[in-house]
């Protein structure tokens, strides 16, 4: 069924190697494209690497984000209300790339807006804009022919989510066409819900690493610099999302508009998280 594919080499691989050479976990930051508006969101995007983010996940807003908790649901609604579209999200990536050709950008979201845009057109435009990878929540390996295999052919990494319910029997299928990194979802649940237990995360990461040489980044339930340090010690990197979009929310004025402090508030948390991952000490020998 699946055609043999090679793993695309993107900015993700170079960045992961550079971070590994520093002997610390990577900081992956998620924000929603267009939240709270186009201009502020683009400023936030540009500020992320300067504040210490290694990899940027940029959320493509979708009206029905089934795996998201209230923070990212709200961020999505803010972005859509401000007129965000797929074309505008790709415009933002292009604008970012004009100034930064090193920081990997991974688009994260749901399949329908891509399907609606047209898979081939999307992949061509995303690649040209400077997108390195995709995380599509509702495309499991059973549906690889939809987008995963075309993405690999187009030179875009397809990053798969592995979860606590992904058992050893299923892991090989989940990892088969994954490239860039593996995103380990540390809890069964939605984004921004519980907090992950570092010991269990370490076990899960070790289990995944028995099946792949790809780096494993851990997300869902990482909110603070201390958690980033603790979880980061057990993995190749941590993903922080809901905590950042909550900072956006808290910085808005009474009408939900960005304020002078919005961009700096996000950058401030990213700097603290970057210090967190730099203080991480490996818990277990690999």
């Amino acid at each position: 069924m699946s055609i043999p594919t090679h793993r695309p080499v993107t900015r993700i691989d170079a960045k992961v190697a550079a971070v590994k050479a520093e002997g610390r976990p990577a900081l992956v930051t998620f924000v929603t494209a267009g939240d709270p508006d186009y201009d502020t969101s683009l400023q936030i995007l540009k500020a992320l690497p300067k504040a210490g983010a290694d990899i940027v996940e940029f959320g493509m807003p979708f009206s029905d984000p089934m795996a998201e908790g209230p923070p990212i649901q709200a961020a999505t609604l803010r972005a859509l209300k401000a007129g965000q579209t797929m074309a505008r999200t790709l415009d933002m990536v292009r604008a970012f790339r004009a100034e930064d050709d090193a920081t990997p950008i991974v688009l994260m979201g749901y399949y329908n807006p891509i399907y609606s845009y047209g898979v081939d057109r999307f992949l061509a435009d995303a690649k040209a804009a400077g997108v390195d990878g995709l995380i599509i929540v509702d495309l499991p390996p059973e549906e690889d022919e939809e987008l995963c295999l075309p993405a690999l052919a187009a030179g875009v990494s397809f990053i798969r989510l592995a979860t606590p319910t992904t058992d050893d029997r299923r892991l090989p299928a989940v990892l088969a066409n994954t490239s860039g990194f593996v995103y380990y979802v540390s809890i069964t649940g939605i984004t921004g819900a519980g907090s992950a237990d570092p010991t269990r995360v370490a076990e899960a990461v070790a289990r995944i690493k028995r099946h792949t040489d790809l780096p494993v980044m851990v997300g869902f339930g990482v909110k603070t610099p201390a958690q980033a340090a603790a979880i980061g010690a057990a993995a190749d990197g941590v993903v922080v999302g809901s905590a950042l979009v909550n900072v956006v929310r808290d910085s808005l004025d009474g009408e939900g508009r960005a304020t002078a402090g919005t961009v700096e508030a996000v950058a401030g948390l990213v700097r603290a998280l970057a210090e967190g991952v730099r203080s991480a000490r490996p818990v277990a020998a690999e």
Partner: protein
């Protein structure tokens, strides 16, 4: 376009596809559970004891078979084809929803699950879910859009009486699709303990096929009953489609009978020309991916899902079961929209001429029967699925007709 198959009754394939529709578009956390459910359902289908227990419950608890009723006065009134109603509104809980809920609760018990969640729009599926949970001793949590909680207050109270917890969903616009999102979020959080009892023939595989199978009791009985009454198959079948479970239940056993014309009736709301003013996914939408399957969806140019509108909360869903999308593209079933206004007229007509208060969902189907019957000969036969009774809707209709209830 999907290629016309030799048989319309062979789908889905092992990956859950009806032509290009269906599939399993879910988060990885759920995927192992979906595969487990698929295997459990396949095993149950092969177990004669499973079907025997379901049949026995239908006979003594649901009240099956539901009668096939010749609507003599309506037939005379419309002056064309003979009109029969498959009276699934007489089922326990007042609609076809119990057919599916009993099947799935037996499966949940068989799988060792200890907690049931469900989504509901009009509340008919919520009531049927709460009913089977009470009957089998399961805790039941129902997700219902906050807007629907308000406009379907009697059903909310029924669910609470039956021991269910009703969670009003304020996310999005507070209707059925938002309730389904919230149920999926619950399931992804409580995967080990929880069985998600989906109410319509949509969602990730195996739900569309499984719900269809449980609802096909409608069509199987109809086939036997019409043969007994008329000695032949009907010329026309008509059913309302929201998610499409009552319709696929009636249609499926007849799909390979060339002489049977089939109509699925969508919620045309204020009219298809009114932006976001209808819930007609098939006649006013285009293919996309939502809630685990590829199917026709109401969506904007950017692939964002629209809310839709219908007088009937049970049809107010921006998607449709994937098998209906397949049947539309192959041309086997004709899908038509019926407006709120036409529905209200049909609702009142049936009440006055036959003494049956229909739910607003089958009142849509009835409006299509009103259009079709006079165009057919007197010896032709229409069977319509009267899939729910209208008790729950009297407040909505009363308000629209200016009665102060």
């Amino acid at each position: 376009m999907t290629v016309k198959p030799n048989s319309f009754r062979t789908g889905p394939d092992e990956r859950g596809h009806f032509g290009i529709f269906g599939g399993r578009y879910v988060a990885e956390t759920l995927m192992p559970l979906i595969l487990e459910l698929d295997a459990a359902y396949e095993a149950a289908k092969r177990d004669p004891g499973f079907q025997a227990e379901l049949d026995a419950l239908h006979a003594t608890y649901t009240g099956r078979p539901s009668p096939l009723y010749f609507a003599e006065r309506l037939t005379a009134h419309l002056g064309g084809a003979k009109i029969y109603f498959k009276r699934d509104e007489l089922n326990h809980t007042g609609s076809h929803k119990i057919n599916n809920c009993l099947g799935q609760i037996l499966l949940a018990r068989r799988m060792g699950k200890t907690r049931i969640i469900a989504e509901t729009g009009a509340g008919q599926h919520g009531v049927a879910s709460a009913t089977v949970c009470a009957r089998f001793g399961f805790p039941c949590e129902v997700y219902m859009g906050a807007t629907d909680v308000q406009r379907q207050a009697p059903n909310v109270f029924r669910m609470k009486l039956l021991g269910a917890t009703v969670h009003p969903v304020t996310a999005g616009h507070g209707t059925l699709k938002d309730a389904m999102n919230e149920a999926l979020r619950d399931w992804v959080t409580n995967v080990e303990s929880t069985y998600y009892l989906i109410g319509t023939a949509a969602g990730p595989h195996p739900y569309p096929a499984m719900v269809r199978d449980f609802q096909s009791v409608i069509g199987k009985e109809t086939r036997e009953q019409i043969l007994a009454a008329e000695g032949r198959l009907p010329d026309v079948l008509v059913a309302a489609v929201g998610g499409g479970s009552n319709a696929i239940g009636l249609f499926h056993p007849f799909l390979d009978d060339d002489g049977v014309a089939i109509y699925g009736v969508e919620a045309g709301g204020h009219g298809l020309d009114v932006h976001n003013g209808h819930a007609a996914s098939l006649t006013g939408g285009r293919p996309g991916v939502l809630h685990g399957n590829r199917t026709y969806l109401l969506q904007d140019d950017d692939g964002q899902i629209l809310e839709g509108h219908s007088i009937s909360a049970g049809l107010d869903y921006p998607g449709i079961g994937p098998e209906h999308s397949f049947l539309k593209d192959t041309g086997r079933v004709t899908y038509v929209p019926i407006t709120d206004e036409e529905t209200l007229e049909a609702f009142q007509l049936l009440t006055k001429v036959e003494g049956i208060i229909p739910a607003l969902e089958p009142a849509h189907a009835l409006a299509q029967v009103v259009k079709l019957a006079p165009t057919l000969d007197k010896d032709q036969i229409i069977v319509m699925n009267l899939c729910g009774r209208g008790d729950k809707d009297v407040f909505t209709v009363g308000k629209l007709l200016g009665f102060d209830l």
